[in-house]
Symmetry: C2
Subunit: 189 residues, 2 copies
């Protein structure tokens, strides 16, 4: 049995590498080097680089804190605002250079890997569903500014967030995220 | 002197390859094979794969039809709507699988290539400036629904478009673009 820690070292190192250089920008050998584990150990833990990418996306999804969208101690509009504010601060920790892993992999790998594409799709679908629920709550409470369908608005907001994260990555600035939050306030809060 | 047609063949083939497989997903040798030109001819025409990518982005920018945003035969709001409608139809031609080259390269290469990052940034900045001008025209004519600053709204719309194009690429469907257009109508038209 391989030691569990080698697997964890691979996941941690690859998460950094993929965020910074994309999937095709880095090879298995560079990942093992960055992880400080023997080159030959990779395939004891993952059948392919693609399988490692899927595992990293599963873990990344947890850090998106979708649980914040179910926090009933806050009214739905400020709850949604706090969630997007958290995501903005998270991008700022890396000077916006990393962007969102969903967006990065979706842009780079949708044509190349059915497994990754499907993982991105279901991750964004889950997120959209949670945003929809919170917007429906706001609509029921009479506090939603926009008159559009919550589902349409939720899909739009999630996609607009991905676009803002991408522009922030390109410009290395917070401005696109702040523009998003300004529009969010005009539509929701 | 190399024949100009070899350069054109390289540009055309690489534009297809980069759109479908990203920058790092394809090598110079595969590009020359796809172009049907001798392997050794590449560096007679481009100092690097990166230089070829920059040339492709310049040409791609022209196909974005920013000139539509200056067509004074249409009022500014329907003019903007026609522009985004054109971009949606253009993505549909490839079953949404390609996404926007600006977004693709921005997501994949912002950390890797200063030249590509700068080309994406200036391309999106030019586009945002043109959208801002059209929104300012609409504001002056009293036909802009949103009360937000045209510049903020323009940045947001351009980024939201990029996010919608990315989600359309992931889901292989037009829905994200239609959600964008619905929101566009509620904010602008």
């Amino acid at each position: 049995m391989p030691r569990p820690s080698v697997r964890e070292q691979l996941v941690d190192a690859a998460a950094e590498c993929f965020h910074e250089r994309g999937f095709n920008g880095i090879g298995v050998q560079e990942i093992t080097r960055a992880a400080g584990v023997p080159k030959g150990s990779f395939y004891n833990h993952f059948p392919s680089k693609e399988a490692l990418a899927v595992e990293i996306m599963r873990r990344y999804a947890v850090t998106r804190r979708l649980d914040m969208l179910e926090d009933r101690t806050l009214a739905p509009a400020p709850r949604l605002r706090a969630h997007f504010g958290y995501l903005a601060d998270d991008l700022e920790r890396f000077q916006f250079a990393r962007g969102c892993l969903f967006g990065n992999f979706g842009a780079e790998l949708s044509a190349q890997s059915a497994d990754v594409r499907s993982q991105v799709e279901s991750g964004l679908d889950r997120w959209t569903a949670q945003v929809t629920s919170a917007l429906e709550e706001a609509r029921s409470a009479g506090t939603l500014k926009s008159t559009l369908e919550p589902e349409t608005l939720a899909g739009f907001l999630v996609n607009a967030w991905e676009g803002a994260a991408l522009r922030a990555k390109v410009t290395r600035s917070r401005e696109p995220l702040d523009d998003f939050l300004t529009l969010f306030d005009s539509l929701v809060a």
